[in-house]
Subunit: 311 residues, 2 copies
């Protein structure tokens, strides 16, 4: 069975271990802290029991997952024979450089060395590393074993083969991959969160709305749809003529809100040049009404779910 | 039984009718289009059957809801004896002014005249109306009978009594009310959506990510939490010391993304001045770890739900 190395076994490392073991990989856990290593297997058991309790895995799967996860006593032992390395160290470019240099020296060629960092692009620590062609960011959202989205962010030197290999492994692990074509601070997930938070702080800070009421705008409003449909598909379904018509109808309204640097972002031309054809393929205009009805059925199912579990 | 008047019976008006009838109110439906009026009762039946199918209401409730909803032949008949008026006309300030002036003339004093508009603040059409003290925006999210959040946006002339009365009625209708202390274009919901979309268009437009991958960042990422927890509470739980510590740790990171007008929004001082005390009351720092565990249980329940209904 193929083996995955997890370097750094805090909450993120443990989440990855559950993801990999569930997909059938052997998992080697290493953390330089003896204290962390002492409790990591017990923590993994708790995590796996939780998944079992919520019927996300079966009892035989839980048993097999635990069998696959093993402690490595040294960094060398962890990466020995591994086909993939996931590093979950501190958020510090100097430390990332140190540990990645070491991992590059002791692991086999062509094995991807991936970092869970949410803030540090790989180019900030891997430029001078010999094996920089196999260094990149693979950023999960906390907790990694519960949130399927994963951002894959290659550095300028990461080879296409490595990116493609990492993407395949993530798909095998049933992750939903977000592939970035180039590095950008905050990647996609935290930039979207940051844009929303910026406006949220502005509205709360100016006294227009309370934080509690603002939260309702998402968790009792926009967030319901967004739990099963992204923001782009959402607006594609919010006009009978799809996303191009939505932007035609509402683009000026949004522009008048004066949020952010509107002068640089022309929604309409982006739709024409980059989005219209793709959306015409995934949900043709002729099917928008049917997709809306389907969205409403999903909303009703979600409301029933929230009612049942008192979310 | 108290009666609610619905003026304009497209999708939004029909959604409101379901909300009001479900809460036990009599509902009078009026639309100046004979074509709309011809099919509105049939449409309401379909909507109510959907709610029944998804167990959001019981069969006796469905029957009573249908009994409560009645056609009015004239505007006068619709508002006669009504305790609340919800107008769902076209998005045009001139038309809003016309219809609201008329509603003000023919309805009883102190009855709130509420508009479903998503883009036109009440001050843009009600300033010269005699009963402007009872005019305001009550903005639902489409579809109104499935999304609980409702924005209440008073004009500068709306009386506090009217705002309070509307708030009470909305709570009686099991709506989650977002009360704005003053008018702002786009209110809260669409400003938050606009901020996120602006960044989304920027990322897709610059070729960093595809629209399909960006959508995953929400529907397989941030949107999962946001379906039961707002963005402010989310960050309160993303640092062991709560929201103040979160902003201390990550505020600079977000600032470096250069999204929007950062120079005007100081997250840290907003937290200190407006948020810290409230959050200390709702989720004290000592309870953050427990609230995180509870969030993860809700996430697992949501994942199980998505798996079961193939969302």
């Amino acid at each position: 069975m193929k083996k995955m190395a997890i370097i750094g076994c805090g909450l993120i490392g443990q989440g990855w271990a559950a993801v990999f073991a569930r997909a059938g990989f052997d998992v080697a856990l290493y953390d330089k802290s003896a204290k962390v290593m002492d409790c990591v297997l017990h923590s993994m058991e708790t995590r796996i029991c939780d998944l079992l309790e919520f019927e996300l895995i079966t009892q035989p799967e839980a048993t097999r997952m635990l069998e696959r996860i093993k402690i490595a006593r040294t960094l060398e032992e962890a990466v020995d024979g591994a086909v993939y390395i996931q590093e979950n160290g501190p958020e510090d470019a100097v430390i990332k450089k140190e540990i990645t240099t070491l991992l590059d020296a002791i692991s086999e060629k062509n094995v991807p060395i991936c970092s869970s960092t949410s803030g540090i692009s790989a180019s900030r620590y891997c430029e001078e590393i010999k094996g920089r062609y196999r260094c990149l960011v693979v950023h999960p959202i906390n907790p990694p074993h519960l949130i399927p989205a994963v951002e894959i962010v290659p550095s300028p030197w990461t080879s296409k083969d490595i990116v493609s290999k990492v993407n395949d492994i993530m798909l095998e692990c049933r992750r939903e991959t977000i592939l970035l074509n180039e590095e950008i601070d905050g990647f996609v997930v935290n930039r979207l969160q940051g844009a929303l938070l910026e406006e949220a702080f502005k509205l709360v800070g100016s006294g227009i709305v309370s934080a509690a009421d603002l939260d309702k705008a998402i968790c009792d409003g926009l967030g319901l749809r967004w739990s099963f449909m992204g923001p782009m598909q959402t607006i594609h379904l919010n006009a009978p003529g799809g996303i191009a018509q939505y932007v035609e109808r509402y683009g000026d309204m949004y522009r008048n809100f004066d949020i952010g640097h509107y002068q640089n972002v022309n929604w309409a031309s982006i739709v024409q040049e980059k989005l219209k054809d793709d959306f015409e393929k995934t949900i043709p205009i002729a099917n928008v009404a049917e997709a809306q009805a389907n969205r409403d059925r999903k909303l009703m199912a979600l409301l029933r779910h929230k009612k049942q579990v008192r979310l």
